[in-house]
Amino acid sequence: MLEHYLTAFSTIFLPQNLLALCLGGLWGLMAGALPGISTSMGVVLLTPFTYSMSPLTAFTILVSAYCGGITGGSITSILFGIPGEPSSVPTVIEGHSLAKQGRAAYALWVFLLCSIGGGLFSVFVMMAATPLIANFALQFGPPEYFGLTMLGLSVVSGLSGGSVLKGLISCLFGIFLATIGTDGITGVERFTFGTTILLGGISFITAMVGLLAVSEILIEAEEPFQQYKGSVDYKGMRGEMPRVSEFKRHWLILTKSPIIGTVIGALPGAGATIAAFLAYGEAARSSKNPEKFGHGAVDGLMAAECANNASTGGSMTILLSLGIPGSNTTAMLIAAFMIHGLQPGPLLLGQRPDIVYGIFVAMLMANLFLLGLTIIGIRLFLQLNRLPYSVFSVAIMILCVVGAFGLSNNMDDIYLMFLFGLIGYYMRKYSFPIAPAVLGLVLGNLAELSLRRTLLLSLGDPLILISRPISAILLAASIFSILYPLFKRPKALKSV
């Protein structure tokens, strides 16, 4: 094994591979940062250029673009408040709040260090325990997925800020949105009113961009020509370097979150989004000052970013060991494997160890490379903070429209996005938290489908949910997570 790593390291330092790391990372960062191009689209567009490269160089550039895309998405989230992927919603909520308080550079530092740390952690886990994690992930059938989604939804009280009731209403609204479209079990249309706009359901991106980004522009537009809040007290990268003590203080979150990310990232169909929300919710639950969540809580940002990036390693784990893609982007990587005459799966490690270990090392190096690339790139992005909001908001709106259109090249999504912008505007006006709605939308569909799949498997017997150990543990954990604040609150009241 060691000799494989040595060979892999010596090949990665060949000039063409270093160039591939650099170019792939840059391309990924760009694709991730522009809302119109998703990470998977970035990898797709890059793939034809790799036909003529040697396999290892090709995978170096693709894997580097994959990692870059995930990192780049968070830059847009923090600076502009536009989530590029569902998994960056917690980052938008906490990171963008920080940016609005003029602490964009600080938020970017935290995000950068945490996401690179989470990414590196998952790469090490992937190197050490690929078969172990893959086998654990296989234990997850429909009942376990249901337990997982329930655990995810149970964090809603942590996301609600002031009023738990409003949080619940918002979450149920999100779950309702998730029922729109073609039903995943019978293929029947629901709530489409005979139109084609809603036939494919409401895509996460459209709803998220509308609810979070467009609504914010509408709110800000109420006070015309105001200076962008971010440019007040604007500080550069150097002045905002987080201190080591801050990371020390949150050591528990910084160990929990990457583990959550790696394990859940390995589950096909769940992946980065649930990982980010679970870690974020867990941080909110265990935080000493939960009232800060939603208004720029650093620990929330840390948790979400660690988990989000750690999911890349988890998802590569199951791809390399079983040939099953854990996410859209890794599905695209399979196509790239096949172009080079390779078949990802259990046999690959034995047949082409040079490729597998090469990919491990490439991911490791890509994460380190991105650290440097992003620090240089962020300086440029930060200059945007000096723009007056009247200009800045127009640019954001354009990015939103492009992002919504780019999803399926359809005007429908733009109309829906503006509709959600209005809904989000009124939600903000009446102080309904938006995060629970997004959580409901993202998890509602998976929760419903996995429950119905479970009942199909058991021929209608719900006992299957508690007769299987993992599912029982997950459901118990979610009940605990819902009840916990009830027991915690009286203490807090006493101290007041």
């Binding site: 854990g326 859209n328 199909l456």
Partner: protein
């Protein structure tokens, strides 16, 4: 005098403009980018197939070729979009068997037989019936015995509820006298994870998607749904051998909106047919084991094949009680 001159000049210019634009109007097709609408997401089977053909096609065309993914509504959203574009041969729809199933009871105003003209059928894939390698069943016969004794207890997964995977699975087992429970998943990856984890018994999926795991000894193929054995799985019996008259497979074709000038369809047909001989595409066929049955059908044969399939699916869906 001056005015007359200006008048002449104007008339001359207008004349030139008319002649010029007349020339442009009769300029050779294609003169601008051709767009291929893939009604599925990036990275899926239909998407990679379309991209492989496009790679072979690009060097043969003087104009750019653009692939646009328009997923949604079980592939009907993209179909509707193409049906609303002008019938000028600049928008191509990547058709799959899903559209033929949709034609039985259309979800949108678009109808594949009524609104489209096929350019050609490109691929005709093979379905394998597979189970986990750790399954207690060894052969298709074991599965059937169990299934006949325990109706609905045999659980098979797959994507596209009410679409290709479900109809193929349910209709195939129905033909063998077994009632299976179909458990829909969102993606092929999830189906396979559920089989490997022992949560469902098996699935019926296209061969190339399962072959790696079959070769690795994680999955066991018990039959290929075809009239002969598949060269990639020479030890696995085909349905014809097992005495089953069921050989349907997933089809992929390209089509344009009905009313497109025949010379443009012919141009597209000829150039795409040439692209199918390009090394890039040939390699794709090899990698995806699409060589077992001839994929190509001429436009007329494709239409006839489509009509037969729609008739077949109408019967199946009625028999299964999915439509009245």
């Amino acid at each position: 005098m001056k005015r007359v001159r200006i008048l002449f000049l104007c008339v001359g210019l207008i004349g030139l403009w008319i002649v010029g634009s007349w020339n442009i109007a009769s300029a050779e097709y294609p003169e601008r980018a051709i767009e291929i609408i893939v009604p599925f997401g990036v990275g899926g089977g239909s998407d990679t197939a379309a991209r492989a053909v496009a790679e072979g096609l690009k060097p043969l065309l003087k104009v750019p070729l653009v692939i646009t993914n328009m997923p949604g509504g079980a592939a009907t959203k993209g179909m509707l979009h193409v049906a609303q574009q002008p019938a000028d041969g600049y928008t191509i729809l990547a058709v799959t068997t899903s559209h033929l199933i949709d034609a039985v009871q259309p979800k949108t105003r678009a109808h594949i037989l009524r609104d489209f003209d096929p350019i050609m059928r490109i691929q005709w894939d093979t379905t394998t019936v597979f189970i986990s390698a750790e399954s207690k069943f060894e052969t298709l016969k074991d599965l059937l015995e169990y299934g006949k004794k325990n109706p609905r207890l045999l659980k098979f997964g797959g994507t596209s509820p009410g679409g290709w995977a479900e109809i193929q699975t349910v209709a195939f087992f129905k033909k063998l006298g077994v009632e299976v429970t179909f458990v829909p998943f969102a993606a092929g990856a999830e189906t396979k994870a559920a089989i490997l984890g022992g949560h469902i018994h098996g699935a019926c999926e296209e061969l190339a998607e399962t072959l790696p795991l079959v070769k690795a000894g994680k999955l066991r193929a018990v039959a290929v749904i075809m009239e002969k054995r598949h060269p990639a799985l020479p030890d696995v019996p085909c349905t014809a051998e097992l005495g089953v008259d069921y050989t349907h497979g997933l089809m992929r074709a390209w089509a344009v909106r009905k009313g497109t000038p025949p010379d443009r369809i012919k141009y597209l047909h000829d150039v795409i047919k040439k692209a199918l001989d390009a090394p890039v595409y040939k390699k794709f066929v090899q990698d995806n084991h699409l060589y077992a049955r001839p994929g190509y059908l001429s436009p007329e044969d494709t239409r006839r094949y489509w009509e037969d399939e729609v008739r077949f699916f109408t019967g199946v869906l009625k028999e299964l009680g999915y439509v009245k």
